[in-house]
């Protein structure tokens, strides 16, 4: 799995792994937009980080809640690091890779019934639909079926 370094166009291999307790000291709201420490001792959520392979610097982070009975995983929160936001970002594909990884986890657990859902801010819904092809489901969005498979393919999981 790769992100693209925008200045060179080079593909850089990434790892997506669980956040360690010691990572939380680096996960400041200043660099990662939200108070990630609130997830530290909350066992309801799984928090994952994206780094370049061989690096410890966290480029992106995601918090998930598993709803096994409903065969879905909900994205509670996702953030690219501040230097990877906006026009001057360093790497392309951080959020997409994290979302695709969740699609993989959901498919591994639930096969064809797997779904990834989220409760986005209303004003951002059209942008998530455009960028990630998400399907509207009431006021929520989801990835399911062929759209989910396309996400897996786009990010190298298929």
């Amino acid at each position: 799995m790769y992100v693209t370094e925008i200045s060179t166009g080079a593909a850089k291999a990434i790892s997506i792994t669980p956040v360690d307790a010691k990572d939380y000291t680096h996960l400041t709201a200043k660099r990662y937009f939200f108070k990630w420490k609130e997830f530290k001792d909350n066992k309801s959520y799984k928090v994952l980080k994206l780094t370049l392979k061989g690096s410890t610097d966290i480029l992106g982070i995601i918090a998930l809640e598993y709803f096994d009975q409903e065969q879905r995983i909900e994205i509670k929160l996702l953030a690219s690091s501040r230097e990877n936001m906006g026009k001057a970002k360093v790497y392309e594909g951080i959020a997409g890779n994290l979302i695709a990884y969740v699609c993989r986890q959901a498919t591994k657990l639930h096969g064809a019934d797997a779904a990834v859902t989220l409760f986005p801010k209303t004003k951002l819904i059209p942008h998530y639909i455009e960028k990630y092809k998400m399907i509207p489901a009431g006021i929520q969005l989801m990835l399911f079926g062929s759209i989910l498979y396309e996400t897996l393919k786009q990010y190298g999981y298929e």
Binding site: K30, G86, P120, L124, Y128, A137, F144
Partner: protein
């Protein structure tokens, strides 16, 4: 999540840029959250019921592919999860009988049965046929790696074999 202490990215970035890099939760009352979940599950149920047989099969094959990949990444060998275990799961995903898969990959049913029961390991061409059969979803490399994983385990944990082979060896001098 408490909003206190969070940074507000939308002041600096366009909405498209925020959506490209962040997913922020919508804050709702418990009642509205329940209603929204009920609505989402209704839509999801409808999508699940209308999944085509091809999409359903693809999802099942991808599930098996990821299970194999993750097992191959594990350092330890699990005697319950040898090639035969995953071949059985493959046939179950396809919802066909063993004899039907044997016909589709042009081998005898008795030969496939030996692979499923781990009495015999398939030659390399069978892994290629399996990859083609799965529309390349499960690569020949992964089927083959299941056999290699077992062989490496057997090589390392067979003390009587190591003892027997030691009799044939004069160790290189390290002096």
């Amino acid at each position: 999540m408490n909003r206190k202490g969070t940074q507000r990215p939308q002041k600096k970035y366009s909405r498209a840029e925020v959506a490209e890099g962040l997913i922020k939760p919508l804050r709702l009352s418990d009642k509205k959250m329940k209603e929204a979940n009920a609505e989402m599950l209704k839509v999801l149920k409808n999508h699940r019921e209308n999944l085509s047989s091809g999409e359903r099969l693809k999802g099942q094959l991808l599930q098996l592919k990821f299970q194999i990949e993750d097992y191959l990444r594990e350092e330890s060998f699990d005697s319950e999860r040898r090639l035969g275990y995953f071949l059985k799961a493959y046939i179950q995903s396809l919802n066909i009988k063993n004899i039907e898969l044997a016909r589709q990959i042009d081998i005898k049913a008795s030969e496939l049965s030996q692979y499923i029961n781990d009495y015999r390991k398939p030659p390399e061409n069978i892994f290629i046929r399996l990859e083609i059969h799965s529309h390349k979803i499960i690569p020949a490399r992964d089927w083959y790696s299941l056999v290699l994983k077992e062989k490496l385990h057997t090589l390392n944990v067979n003390p009587s074999r190591w003892k027997a082979e030691r009799k044939h060896v004069i160790e290189a001098s390290l002096k």
